[in-house]
Symmetry: C2
Amino acid sequence: MEQRTEVSDYGEFGLIHHLTKNIEIHNVSTILGVGDDAAVIDHFGKQTVVTTDLLIEGVHFDLTYTPLKHLGYKSIVVNLSDIYAMNATPTQVTVSIGISNRLSVEALEEFYDGIYAACEKYGVDLVGGDTASSQKGFIISITALGEVLPEKVVKRSTANKGDLLCCSGDLGGAYLGLLFLEREKRIFLENPGVKPDLGGQDYVIGRLLKPEARKEIIEFFESENILPTSMMDISDGLSSEILHICEKSAVGCTLYEDKLPIMENTRMAAFTFEMDPTACALSGGEDYELIFTIRPEDYEKVRQHPLISIIGHMTDAEESATIITKGGNTHKITAQGWNAFRQ
Amino acid sequence: MEQRTEVSDYGEFGLIHHLTKNIEIHNVSTILGVGDDAAVIDHFGKQTVVTTDLLIEGVHFDLTYTPLKHLGYKSIVVNLSDIYAMNATPTQVTVSIGISNRLSVEALEEFYDGIYAACEKYGVDLVGGDTASSQKGFIISITALGEVLPEKVVKRSTANKGDLLCCSGDLGGAYLGLLFLEREKRIFLENPGVKPDLGGQDYVIGRLLKPEARKEIIEFFESENILPTSMMDISDGLSSEILHICEKSAVGCTLYEDKLPIMENTRMAAFTFEMDPTACALSGGEDYELIFTIRPEDYEKVRQHPLISIIGHMTDAEESATIITKGGNTHKITAQGWNAFRQ
């Protein structure tokens, strides 16, 4: 039988100490980490970038099919994705948790294993946080800090007419992973004897449960001396994010359906649910890819990159945001993000 | 009848926009605020200080007797208190909320009125956050950033034998305020007809519901050129915090009961509950005063300050942390913080 240690055996300070005692510091900017009223950071002349996310059990994640280690990993990654989306390098995170007593210390250790794995992979330091009891399910609040040279910050509001619209990686997978897991959960709840059948869906399920942030794209910009004219990360869904950039930058855009990067695995998964893969790519969320615009002069630099797709270009605001389908029809892009799907 | 607008009438982005549309920026360090993937901050050669707190309904606050405006104000103040405790100046905050649908848009406006009132008073900028729905009560997660010259950071771990132990303001009030509100809540739940009787307890109730952070003490240090040798804020209770400083600094301390700053209002409130005011000062929490140590040479500078009490001095670690009572007896200080009281 697995060991189960109650959180109350440690007490608040004991628990924090237990979960943070092996922290290794990766960044010279981390002057003072966990253990005081606040952490101290020195970005040595660079600007500090800060973002935060609140994740609530039953709203943002379902512990029936989310391993705690993956949850810890993903909680960090979704915040780092926002830092990269500013063209910045993440350096520190704080992690606050509200713990229901359903969770044992061993379960929290798994969660922190995921946290530390992500910190290790992305070279960021855990520098603080807060621990509270919660009678109401598991609550996770993460804040990430990063650094960037002032002249390298990339906002959402600075795309120009004529810029090329690009995105990283591939789209729609995480949403289909969610559909599979939700389906198997329903079946399991109705027939607890039936084993979940997730065969062949590893790819899309992995996209949901263990997303990565696009560190390599930001490093590529740096090495190739590319400064995107605008950028954001894809958390709510491609259409929703495109509309944000168009609105904030006061431009329109033309998107080409046949340019959307959709993996074969994702396409097959969509057909299983009798869904249109394009709709999943446009409106499924949680892909944590980057969407960005570049000046046409940078075309040659990006066109060969295996992780970058050029999916359209920016137009006058009056032309609004449109998609040209494979059949040659033009449709307005509407804001069917993640939330719309879930309702 | 009061107007009630449902959160769902706005949608997530609409709600964020509605609640943040009148933000005024106070700090030159705020380069980019709400509205992008992350905020951008430039502390111009100073170090960045970061702290975070998670507040959960039913654990940290009770909406039956906590006005939402006060709750918003206090949520900010408790974080700023941690920034001041590093001898730093707070500059930015992020505010994330998990909203149960019991809360209307009007209720959230009240909460944000409190947030903005605190931001205004302490000169900090709201630069980001996250909004989620929560079926599980109101959840608040706040991160505060501040700035400090590298040589001015004050930690918990650097007190020395012979230093004077000081605290700001007065102690024990917030805990007694909580006792009154809990008592009146119990009476009200048993006899809904009975009006709450909080007469004469304004002081202690105010200490609980609307605490302030000790900005003026940090400004005094600056103007008098005092650098405390260690400092932290009093959130869990004086004894608990003293033990932290002693442990982290590897020193002991002698505390004098007759030097503890306890207001007459607090003393009277304690007697109403047949409690010892000293116990309330030592173990009641949430006072958000500062405890700090100074070099003996700074004695003359602080002794006349109306908000500073010299309550003891630091000793060898072997002497551990002790209190000398009014009767002349010596007791070991034990870690009866806030939590102990609540159990």
